[in-house]
């Protein structure tokens, strides 16, 4: 029972998250706002989407008017548009380098987009260069993919050095040296992403000697894989190509020396921020389990995604360490702060044939310049689209970088302005909450953390306010405890002295209506459950009214539990306000069990009649009322530190209910333990069969109806 309930709860949560993902795409006058051709969103802790004001606004198009001297017509110039450009680099002076892959050249533009020069390396022509990096000292490194080499040019474009495939025993023979992207660190060491190179980045020293493979990804390993490994032969398993770790598609280096990698075709850690030791800085501690976990990057929504998943292609890091990633599949641009927390995302499928300002059709690379402008290279429309930070986006960036530095006090007025302009933007609430916590305003911090849905912060501030409360109320609490103790002792002394006649008169329960007396049978079930159930069968200790009341109370308690429990334990209660679906499922499963259990038991020499099963099953639910309600209340006074207690009690509740059902089978049908176990098992199997049957009947009849209707329509219309 507990399992099924748990499972259904999990399914319910998953479902509701899926559904709420589509939030905020509303039918309300849905015009894109002025100045922007896309909508910007924020996704909160629970996967709810909120439309927000634009964080970036399109500011222009670069690289679409390149002209070169006409080779046939000296003195004249001709247009020479980019051709499937694959990479972009912005140097310290904001000058732009484009790896113009299809034209086998590098295009060098100034910060306004005017052509400075074109690099073709005539001594040793480039062939489909896909990556470009310009070192602080002016050296230009080109990933000359078609020639399987890295080319290093000096500031003036003169060939300095060629890095061919390094020779090392550590590089497997199967390794293909097709460099696509690269960065060079301060020392002059190269980090090269190669096509399909699942070993990680190839790290070379200044002389081109192999150092190591850097920042490799782990192979995903799932349950199916475990099964396959068990069943497959070694050869078969080795053939499973998908078991290779994802190969790095792009690499970037931050001003702080961190190396950022982007990996396609993985569903976690698509972006990594690697320190010198190759450790990912973006993995975070899970609030519930405390383990370091890799997060998923690349935002999407069902409405924008149309069912496909993100395919991140490139990342760029700005001066504050904010990471911007572009998605070739969904055309969504997502921006994260330096810890990998989402700031905002925007974009979506470009509609209708013509290219639009601000909408990139095939983003191949992204860069930022010193002004905070984003540049996105569009390899299909052969140009760069630029975006500048909006006024709102600028405040968010500033406030967030202060928060990241721990300067909560300074960030507070900024976050307050952000919250004024957008009340649903959780990072602002989080920033304000942190500032309040730092100032010791725990109650306010608690409210803000709760609103932002951040369990750990809420829990910490609540712990503080609870502590304060206990400290302040200590005297009162102790006095209350003493008084209670005194009363108890008094009662014990007095009770013996009450005459029997008065006792009789005090015993109101004898005069109570039958169904209330029947409700009292619960106490018997607590003390001696099997006997209690037997009494239901043979002594008529339960009735229809009491059973119905118990059932309703239990289902009500379940509703209160699922919506009233502290959100740090049940985050899903924040996402779905309505409890109706949960209650319907609860009732459905319970009734299904009653029916199936009765059917099975009547075949297996069970002695219980249908009503006994019904009563017994209703009575078995009383722990929801007895334990569930208090637990829900207490949970609101608990913090994450006491989550062990909460989970113990919650699980205890389900175990108790499960046991009651078991005893119910024993007591009502007069079964032995073994018989009861078999019976319960068969009941569950029957339930599953019934569910499948119902589903089949439903879908067949509706299919039949649709078929008849379609035939009718086809005949009458065509």
């Amino acid at each position: 029972m507990q399992r099924t309930l748990r499972l259904t709860i999990a399914v319910l949560t998953a479902l509701s998250v899926l559904l709420t993902l589509a939030f905020a795409f509303v039918l309300a006058p849905g015009k894109a706002s002025a100045g922007v051709s896309y909508e910007t969103y924020y996704k909160d802790q629970f996967g709810q989407l909120f439309r927000m004001q634009s964080a970036y606004r399109p500011s222009g198009v670069l690289g679409d008017t390149i002209r070169i001297p006409d080779p046939n017509n000296p003195g004249e110039t001709i247009r020479s548009p980019l051709n499937k450009p694959q990479d972009l680099f912005v140097d310290e002076e904001d000058q732009i380098y484009i790896a113009d892959t299809g034209n086998n050249r590098i295009v060098h533009l100034d910060e306004k987009g005017s052509l400075i020069r074109i690099l073709e390396v005539p001594d040793s022509p480039l062939n489909g260069p896909q990556g470009i990096f310009v070192h602080g000292n002016g050296d230009i490194y080109i990933a000359d993919t078609g020639n399987h080499r890295i080319v290093r040019l000096d500031r003036d474009g003169k060939l300095v050095r060629v890095f061919e495939r390094p020779q090392s025993k550590l590089i497997p023979d199967s390794f293909k040296y097709d460099p696509i992207k690269l960065v060079v660190d301060k020392r002059g060491f190269l980090y090269i992403a190669t096509l399909g190179g699942y070993q990680g980045l190839l790290q070379l020293d200044t002389e081109g000697r192999f150092q190591s493979f850097f920042g490799s990804n782990k192979a995903a390993f799932s349950v199916t894989d475990a099964v396959k490994r068990l069943l497959y032969t070694r050869e078969m398993y080795a053939r499973e190509i998908s078991k290779l770790p994802g190969s790095i598609t792009s690499v970037d280096i931050g001003t702080d020396g961190f190396i950022y990698t982007v990996t396609k075709e993985v569903d976690r850690a698509q972006i990594k921020k690697l320190n010198i030791a190759g450790l990912d800085q973006l993995a975070v501690k899970n609030e519930q389990t405390g383990k370091k976990e890799e997060r998923s990057f690349g935002e999407y929504s069902w409405a924008l995604a149309d069912g496909s998943l993100p395919q991140l292609n490139d990342a760029a890091v700005d001066g504050d360490g904010n990471i911007t990633v572009v998605d070739t599949k969904l055309n969504i641009v997502s921006q994260y702060d330096s810890n990998g927390n989402l700031l905002f995302f925007w974009g979506g499928q470009p509609g209708g044939g013509t290219a639009k300002r601000g909408v990139v059709t095939m983003p191949s690379a992204v860069e930022t310049n010193s002004q905070g402008t984003l540049l996105i290279l569009d390899s299909e429309n052969h140009m760069i689209q630029t975006y500048r930070l909006s006024e709102f986006g600028a405040i968010v960036h500033k406030a967030n970088s202060l928060t990241q530095d721990g300067r909560y006090g300074e960030s507070e007025p900024l976050w307050r302005e952000v919250a004024r302009q957008n009340a649903y933007y959780s990072p602002a609430l989080l920033g304000l909450a942190k500032a309040a916590y730092q100032k010791g305003e725990f109650q306010r911090a608690e409210e803000l953390f709760r609103e932002a849905g951040w369990a750990q912060g809420y829990s910490d501030s609540f712990w503080q306010t609870r502590l304060l409360w206990f400290q302040n109320q200590f005297g009162l609490l102790m006095n209350a405890a003493l008084v209670l103790l005194g009363l108890h002792l008094l009662w014990r002394r007095l009770r013996r002295r009450i005459p029997a006649s008065l006792k009789d008169r005090l015993a109101v329960w004898r005069r109570l209506p039958t169904f209330l007396k029947e409700l009292g049978h619960v106490s018997a079930l607590i003390r001696r459950p099997i006997d209690g159930f037997q009494a239901i069968r043979y002594e008529g200790k339960a009735g229809i009214a009491s059973s119905m009341i118990l059932f309703l109370l239990a289902i009500g308690s379940y509703g209160v539990m699922s919506s009233g429990t502290n959100f740090v334990f049940h985050p899903e209660s924040i996402v779905s306000a309505s409890v109706f679906p949960g209650l319907a499922r609860f009732a459905g499963i319970w009734f299904g069990f009653v029916v199936c259990h009765y059917l099975v038991s009547s075949l297996k020499q069970g002695e219980g009649r249908f009503r006994d099963v019904f009563y017994g099953s209703a009575y078995s639910l009383f722990p929801f009322l007895l334990l569930g309600l208090p637990l829900t209340l207490i949970s609101n006074a608990m913090t994450l530190n006491e989550s062990a207690i909460f989970l113990f009690l919650e699980n205890g509740l389900y175990v108790w209910v499960a046991l009651l059902f078991f005893w119910q089978a024993q007591g009502i049908h007069n079964y032995s333990v073994g018989e009861a176990a078999i019976n319960i098992l068969l009941s569950i199997v029957t339930m599953a069969v019934c569910a499948v049957l119902l589903f089949i009947i439903y879908s067949l009849t509706s299919e039949l109806w649709h078929f008849i209707y379609s035939v009718y329509q086809e005949v009458t219309i065509r």
Binding site: L27, G35, Q48, T354, N422, S710
Partner: protein, 767 residues
């Protein structure tokens, strides 16, 4: 093997086809006499003289099939003349040209012969450009057939039935191969030439006509170094400047239905603004024209092709729609089915375009807008505004309430009670906002997401009595109160609405709905004529509350959808008429009518304010810039506001654009805290708390007043760029507003504009 098998069938079919074609041609030649008469019938007051075509000694004499070619310049005959313009026509090709008598400038209905040699396009499109009329059609007998393009010249049609009359000419274009017959008429008026397609006389053979373009090349010019642009009604109006070289984009086209998509038909997703104005134009050097689609506009698509997309010319035309595909569902849910075309053509009395030739100073978008303004005053009866106050109005949209998912049933979220609204207005008034117009939304029972059966006002925000009191309070502050109403949706079933009977249906009979993703609900669209009835019935209630008008949201005055519900069947033009009647009723009975996202046909009904008028274009890269065409045409006639400052239109740039375009500021407010509406079904706006914005609103209001207070009733007579990012708007009387969007100050002659700011130069009268 395969070919052998199929041969006989094909042979039989083609023989049959040929035979049919022959018969058909025979029939046409027999019938053509009567056809010419159809065109001639309605005009008995003119002395019509049928021109004997054979006597004109054409290159293609009567009976001989036509070859696609430019008209012979020597063959043009004078068809009409007045003090400004002369109309010439070539009877052989039915092409015409308009000559300005003062400047002798010429506007042609065919490609400029001077540049025709450089035309590189080949095939059907070459002939399309030469032909006075082109058509798209489909063979409806086969479900697999594709639509095809054709034109009158290419089919080797025979010129016949041409007829001159006083001031113009008419002809029925007989398509020899496809069998279409399209009667048209061209007429010279005081300052424009009008072309008309006479739907009554259209005939079809076996094929189904999808759309027509009549004189698509009117005023078209290639880019040859002259200054020029295509003007298209995208957003407030947008320019596609003439470029000698194509951009990076591959043959971009602009093709958009007037007044937005139609729920009953298939709509191409283009991610563009809806077209709100039935106008387009071309400027080339010193001469230009403005085209106004005056009849059948509801059935037009705007089509524009910059140079290089379809031929070397920049051209723009109206594409008259006769059939649009719709989804014929074959199952109950309407999820399965196929797209098909209806048998019936769209019919509308006439489809007419006025071409206003413009030249010299008037030959730009300002001149076009001024001409359109004249059209609006003369044909729609718009009159100059008498400003109520010296201060401009500020538009405050107040949200009463909305719903969200709750524990057991929906939660009712109170945004602003009527008492709170009174307090809000008093507060704004005390902050110096002297002229306010309130649009109260979400006042109906169960708030904003509950559509249909609006009255009475929900008691939880004050009820009818509270609303009445609020309006009285507002009137004391000389503020106007409009109640927002959506008569296009109904999910409450109130007011006797039953979606089976009263919902909007497409031709397949499928009820059309709008999906609300938050409440996961499909909300039925109401039959437009039912909606009109409901609105009319409510009129008394509005009056009883003292409302100054209705703010029409949800499509009335904004968009058109055909309804095939047999009880309320209405075409797009009938829907437009019904919306106009409802808007007119609000105007006449209550005093005003505001429209959200208004289309210009709403002005004909009597709309007095276009709320949140789009001020930016759709960002297509081939379009170069947005220009305030709509605003120039409207300022001084009808008020218009820019988008809500507190929902992503509050940047400096947005503020400056509002000033440049002469738009009034608008806000959406609640008395409730901004966070209260989280996860509400419809109201998703993230910052509505009035108290959080009051200071900013007051500050903005002062700045707006500085720029626009004095010219509320004045027309805009000039608009231009002084430098990149520096725009000048001139009003009657010389009041000039100069806006500088750049991060650096702008130094003009004798004035300076601070960075990201504006200055006002008073006119002679004001100084």
């Amino acid at each position: 093997m395969k070919t052998l098998k199929r041969w006989p069938l094909r042979a039989v079919l083609s023989t049959l086809g040929l035979a049919l074609l022959g018969l058909f041609l025979l029939w046409i030649s027999g019938a053509s006499g009567t056809r010419a008469e159809i065109g001639a019938k309605p005009l008995n007051n003119e002395k019509s003289k049928t021109v004997n075509t054979s006597s004109l000694s054409l290159s293609a004499p009567a009976g001989e099939p036509m070859k696609p070619a430019l008209p012979d310049e020597g063959r043009f005959k004078l068809a009409g003349e007045n003090e400004r313009l002369r109309l010439y026509v070539d009877p052989a090709t039915a092409h015409f040209k308009v000559e300005s008598r003062t400047s002798s400038r010429i506007w042609r209905s065919y490609p400029n012969p001077e540049h025709w040699e450089s035309e590189t396009i080949a095939g059907t499109w070459r002939n399309n450009l030469l032909s006075p009329i082109m058509a798209e059609y489909i063979d409806a007998s086969s479900s697999k057939s594709q639509s095809k393009l054709t034109n009158w010249m290419e089919e080797g049609s025979v010129q016949e039935g041409f007829e001159l009359f006083d001031g113009g000419f008419r002809i029925t274009f007989q398509f020899a191969r496809t069998g279409f017959a399209v009667p048209i008429e061209v007429r010279l008026h005081k300052d424009y030439v009008e072309t008309k397609v006479l739907d009554e006389g259209i005939a079809e053979g076996a094929l189904s006509l999808l759309n027509l373009k009549l004189y698509p090349m009117f005023g078209a010019e290639p880019s040859v170094g002259q200054e020029g642009y295509l003007f298209i009604p995208d957003g407030p109006g947008a320019l596609v400047t003439f470029k000698e070289e194509p951009g990076t984009q591959d043959k971009p086209l602009y093709r958009e239905p007037l007044y937005g998509p139609d729920a009953a038909f298939y709509n191409e997703p283009t991610a563009r603004n809806e077209v709100k104005m039935p106008v387009f134009g071309i400027k080339s050097g010193e001469q230009a024209f403005l085209a106004v689609i005056t009849g059948g506009d509801a059935y037009a698509k705007l089509f524009a092709a910059p140079a290089g997309s379809l031929g070397v010319s920049n051209w723009a035309a109206a594409e008259w729609q006769y059939r649009i595909k719709f989804f014929q569902s074959t199952n109950g849910q309407g999820t399965e089915g196929f797209y098909t075309f209806s048998e019936q053509r769209f019919k509308t009395p006439e489809r007419s375009i006025r071409y206003y030739p413009l030249e010299a100073e008037a030959g730009d978008y300002v001149g076009m807008a001024a001409k359109y303004r004249t059209y609006l005053t003369e044909s729609f009866g718009l009159a100059r505004i008498e400003p109520k106050k010296a201060e401009i109005p500020m538009y405050i949209d107040v949200i009463g309430a909305d719903l969200r998912e709750g524990f057991l049933w929906d939660d009712y979220i109170v945004g602003t009670t009527t008492d709170q609204a009174s307090a809000m207005l008093a507060r704004f008034h005390s902050l110096g906002i002297a002229n306010m117009t309130v649009h109260y939304g979400g006042w109906q029972r169960w708030g904003y997401s509950s559509f249909g059966g609006l009255f009475p006002v929900d008691s939880r925000i004050g009820g009818n009595s509270g609303m009445k009191e609020f309006i009285e309070q507002a009137h004391k502050l000389q503020a106007a109160v409009y109640l927002e109403a959506n008569y296009s949706l109904n999910n409450s079933g109130r007011g006797g609405f039953w979606s089976r009977n009263d919902g909007l249906r497409n031709m397949a009979g499928t009820l059309q709905t709008v999906h609300n993703r938050v409440s996961r609900e499909d909300i039925p669209l109401v039959s437009p004529l039912y909606g009109e009835q409901e609105g009319n019935a409510d009129m008394e209630e509005y009056r009883a509350l003292g409302a100054d008008g209705i703010l029409f949201a949800g499509g009335i005055g904004s968009g058109l959808s055909t309804d095939y519900n047999s009880r309320y069947r209405a075409g797009r033009d009938e829907v437009a008429a019904s919306q106009q009647s409802l808007i007119g009723k609000s105007r006449s009975e209550l005093g005003g009518a505001s429209v959200v996202d208004g289309s210009f046909y709403a002005l004909k009904g009597g709309a007095s304010h276009l709320h949140r008028l789009t001020d930016d274009y759709s960002y297509d890269l081939f379009i170069d810039e947005a220009v305030p065409f709509a605003q120039i045409a409207l300022h001084g006639l009808v008020t218009y506001s820019s988008d809500w400052v507190n929902v992503d239109a509050g940047s400096r740039e947005d503020f400056l654009r509002g000033i440049e375009y002469g738009a009034y500021p608008s806000f959406v407010f609640t008395a409730a805290e901004s966070g209260d509406f989280k996860n509400a079904y419809t109201i998703w706006y993230y910052s509505m708390h009035a108290a959080d914005w009051e200071e900013e609103a007051a500050r903005l209001y002062r700045r707006y007043n500085e720029a626009l207070g004095a010219v509320q009733g004045q027309y805009i007579i000039g608009h231009r760029s002084l430098a990149p990012g520096v725009k000048e708007t001139i009003y009657e009387g010389g009041h000039t507003v100069i806006v500088n969007y750049n991060a650096e100050p702008y130094q003009g002659e004798g004035f300076a504009v601070p960075a990201e700011d504006f200055i006002v130069k008073r006119g002679e009268e004001g100084a």
